[in-house]
Symmetry: C2
Subunit: 404 residues, 2 copies
Amino acid sequence: MKNLLIGQSGGPTVAINATLSGIIKGCRELYPDAVIYGARNGVKGILGENFVCLNEQVQTNSQAYALETTPAAALGSCRMKLPANLSESIYDNIFSTFKRYNIGAFFYIGGNDSMDTVEKLSRKAEEMGNPIRIIGVPKTIDNDLPFTDHTPGFGSAAKYVATTIQEIACDCAVYPEPSVTIVEIMGRDAGWLTASAGIPRLFGEDCADLIYLPEVNFSSDAFLDDIRRKFKEKNNLVVAVSEGIHDEKGTLYGADPSGSKDVFGHTMLSGAASRLSELVKRTIGCKSRSVELNIPQRCASHCLSATDISESVSLGRAAVKAAYEGKTGLMITYVRRPGKQYAIDFGSVPVAQTANKTKYVPKEHILPGGCDVSDELLRELAPLIVGEIDAPRRAGLPYHFKIK
Amino acid sequence: MKNLLIGQSGGPTVAINATLSGIIKGCRELYPDAVIYGARNGVKGILGENFVCLNEQVQTNSQAYALETTPAAALGSCRMKLPANLSESIYDNIFSTFKRYNIGAFFYIGGNDSMDTVEKLSRKAEEMGNPIRIIGVPKTIDNDLPFTDHTPGFGSAAKYVATTIQEIACDCAVYPEPSVTIVEIMGRDAGWLTASAGIPRLFGEDCADLIYLPEVNFSSDAFLDDIRRKFKEKNNLVVAVSEGIHDEKGTLYGADPSGSKDVFGHTMLSGAASRLSELVKRTIGCKSRSVELNIPQRCASHCLSATDISESVSLGRAAVKAAYEGKTGLMITYVRRPGKQYAIDFGSVPVAQTANKTKYVPKEHILPGGCDVSDELLRELAPLIVGEIDAPRRAGLPYHFKIK
């Protein structure tokens, strides 16, 4: 009997722990005698043999439920890119640890960059003739992974964005004087999360009056024209902008003047909304403020989508089933069933096809002028935010599950 | 039979509409035949005779409940200071409108600056020998009004801050590398809301490791020492700072370099957390980011305190009872009952005593060094965030009540 290993990697979401719980549940069901190890801080935990025993840590249903409603990554995360050359010694270290712990399947929950790790490790295993199963389990609030209908964590982030935008629209409408409130939303390459700022309008609620995605070039002149045009309809405008809006040369509107880059070479961003707000004050002369939704977009477990969390748990189970059936080198996916009633099945795709690719909002869903999205797109996103979770609370506060 | 008038003024909170609903309920109970008018945009609505009939607008229990769980000010708000000289014509305009609509009592829901309006109007009424009752009903997320145990709207804002800080602490702990996350919280003069970032620790949950209130002078050198000291205990620090932190000369750490002021002469603030985050990167050299909780602190109706909302409705009823008993020129207050079990009664205070005064966090609750608050203070605040509200939702989104 082989043992199992789970790791979490990349930026946190509110659904990563739901998927972790789903994998633990799936392992208990299909591998009842295996030790379920968790690697702390992803691949770093494998390299440092920093393992916890999840059979012991998550025993009861109430522990599993608390884990599923706790944000971020209970095992800790890392941002680490494995070398392109599979003969480097780091791979020997990883595979000798797999051997020492008798690991039969490794599940890696992560985003765009993390699937690269899954791809390299499964290719290395194949080279070695090692039968270990390596399965990638997606997550990202950005919804920008290809081959899956949507990503775990996106539904809850979209619900937080849509809810908060609707509330901000209420707040901004209290004064009769003209005002522009600019809300900056995460997603530097793909505008899915920013687009969700429009969902409330499907139900007659106030939300973003203008929506700017990174999929189209941003022009501050066109933006000012849009504001002036909207002011003819109403006095208090709410604008949703992606943190990744950029001009036709690709220069980010909110680029950090210091030019800092993260470990993957991505430019660090700050302040697109703040800069636009200053522009509005300076040129239009009305009251304007900016709100950066920031970290709460990816950790607001007090505003979970029941659809997202339930699917994320089932996704974990589907990953274990794939390993149990002998599959490897795959990323598990959501497949939306055709028809009016929203429902999904689970599928998979060779991870080599997915790594380092981005799924953008299709151009046909961005309205001419680039300042809004289609209702069709909003109707596609709307089912993902449905349902509330009655997360465990104590004295009015969330109860967060910790892996010790 | 006289009619009744209600107005809302000042910055929005999530509890103003609960108080509005409470006043409407109280009016229906004690003045069953009166017309209940709502003035749009506070005093501006009185001057412009921009009234709505609330008997018609809020008829059913489900309408009242939706109103109570809708953020901001359903009647609209204003920021308007009445002149000091009571013989100015604006007062004649207001009182002739009162007469024309046969107003017997006027309820004004507002904050620190709004009680000034209540005080002037009630003093003018007294001068005129006009028997109209003018009652101030407090609200502010800042909790900085004197003579009341706490303020309506504060409990929900504190719950949002405490919950969000707890979630951010989870998010920031996922990477092993040292990091400092600085969270900026509203409250420019008083640190009650910032202090609430410590509540989760009473229940063993992660939250702010350092807390800086505007009640003490802020020193960036001492701040850096505090960070270095805390780094000996843990790697991922969360810091809560008030937007109003300032040095010993009174210079705001986050002052807008443009020096803008609002209509009450308050300096506009921006970016204390952002500036501190840059300071940490520059001097300590670790990863640091800033989060400004911004508008959602005062409009996040998806995270209401049931205690706050229920008290805010009852406060509205208490205001009507005071008018019915012939009282005027008062602000209604919360009075906490002595004893271990949290409970409140309703009281009142002559509004002349309250206007333009600020209730600060007492110095004895700020720990030596000024980088934290006492557990005693947190235990005093904790009951105010207890209880969840099952607000009406549609397709996963809040359903917001609108006055047409």
